[in-house]
């Protein structure tokens, strides 16, 4: 296989990943590293570098559309960014320090958790928690548009959310993923921020978090232009088209298929990691 064929196949694979990622809301970034390492025998460090670049592209590309809806809360996002960027720097630092097999195993475990979370129905917790006074002082409480006018919301559990964001950032830097699912989980479930606000704010945060580790990857030589080029262009075009053709009716079926793909990739990553193939 020469570079022309290699580039074309990776572009196709990345396009499909971005397309399905946008349709299912799971993001395309999470399948890029398994695809590159398992199907194209790319070293996991090059794969992480290319994947991370594509994550920035989709996050920034989608931002303009999200902003118009008026849901995202820039103060919440910016405050939590302190935790995710520190985490991302730590994660990127770890990549050079731990074995590639261990990275693959951690990747597999994170994939398993993502597949589980995507299959589960989101449910509202009944436990009542007082609004956090820290959120008040940091002016995080806000409002968002609903069919019945502006709806006010209070933010809870700011320190816990901050801590979870550090973990989300570390995973992003270590694995080259956006870790949007972890960010939404922290905001929606722990901080009790409305789901729509959580997802759009998370999208904004993903780009900044990824940029933090991208600087480290670039200086360490993990970002290869020849490999990152088809991945970035593929995921970006796939996710933009995916967001346009988003049809509600088939999402459930697609989520199941994509969840199954993630499950298979997870098992293979863990299995090969344990055998020491990476």
């Amino acid at each position: 296989m020469n570079i022309l064929e290699f580039t074309f196949l990776i572009w196709i694979g990345s396009f499909i990943a971005g397309f399905l990622g946008a349709l299912t809301g799971l993001g395309g970034g999470i399948v890029i590293v398994p695809m590159l390492t398992l199907m194209f025998a790319v070293d996991i460090r090059y794969a992480i570098g290319a994947s991370l670049v594509s994550v920035i592209a989709t996050s920034s590309g989608a931002a303009a559309a999200y902003v118009k809806e008026g849901f995202s809360n820039i103060r919440i996002g910016m405050f939590l960014e302190i935790a995710t960027t520190i985490g991302a720097l730590f994660g990127a630092y770890l990549v050079a320090r731990i074995s590639t097999d261990l990275i693959a195993i951690i990747f597999g475990i994170v994939l398993l958790i993502s597949a589980y979370l995507s299959s589960r129905q989101r449910k509202k917790s009944e436990i009542v928690i007082e609004p956090d006074s820290l959120a008040d002082r940091l002016k995080m409480n806000g409002s968002y548009p609903t069919p019945n006018g502006l709806q006010h919301y209070d933010v809870r559990n700011v320190p816990q959310g901050f801590g979870l964001m550090f973990i989300a950032g570390t995973l992003s830097g270590l694995l080259g993923i956006g870790s949007g699912a972890a960010k939404v989980l922290a905001m929606d479930q722990v901080m009790r921020i409305p789901f729509k606000v959580s997802t759009t704010t998370s999208n904004f945060m993903i780009g900044v978090t990824a940029a933090a580790s991208a600087g480290v990857f670039l200086s360490r030589g993990y970002i290869d232009p020849g490999l990152a080029m088809p991945v970035m262009l593929g995921v970006l075009s796939g996710s933009l088209i995916g967001a346009k053709v988003l049809v509600k009716a088939r999402t459930r079926w697609l989520r199941l298929v994509f969840g199954f793909v993630i499950l298979v990739l997870a098992i293979e990553m863990i299995f090969k990691g344990l055998k020491g193939i990476f």
């Binding site: 920034s60 931002a63 303009a64 480290v216 030589g221 970035m232």
Partner: protein, 125 residues
């Protein structure tokens, strides 16, 4: 001048990001086409990790390579621009919070900005 509101700032920043991504993707695409014309028939070499050479790892190196019309340098410049878009957004937020006289968030956003610059400049820590 109209008062700066969060929504207005958000819309400007959303557009800023989109323009950054479109520009970055265009540069990567153009560099990619030239790259494939020259290297398309060679063999890919990603199975063994060697790391990029120094000229594709540093800001000055990438800019120099790109303006010397090296094909991979042009792609790398596009990727660098892409990495810069969220950083530009954070920088713009500092200005926006400054216009709002929101000192707590000037501090918060400056911390994030410093962390991002640290990564880009001292990435090999």
């Amino acid at each position: 001048m109209k008062k700066w509101t969060d929504e207005k700032i958000e819309i400007i920043m959303g557009n800023l990001l989109r323009i950054g991504v479109i520009l970055a993707a265009a540069i990567v695409f153009i560099g990619g086409v030239f790259y494939l014309f020259k290297f398309g028939l060679q063999q890919p070499h990603y199975a063994i990790f060697k790391g990029e050479p120094a000229e594709y790892r540093t800001l000055s190196g990438i800019v120099h390579q790109a303006f010397s019309f090296h094909r991979r340098g042009i792609i790398q410049l596009g990727l660098l621009l892409l990495i810069a878009t969220p950083i530009a957004r954070v920088l713009f937020s500092i200005i926006a919070f400054f216009l709002e006289r929101d000192y707590v968030y000037i501090l918060v956003t400056s911390i994030v900005f410093c962390l991002l610059m640290f990564s880009l400049v001292f990435g090999r820590f």
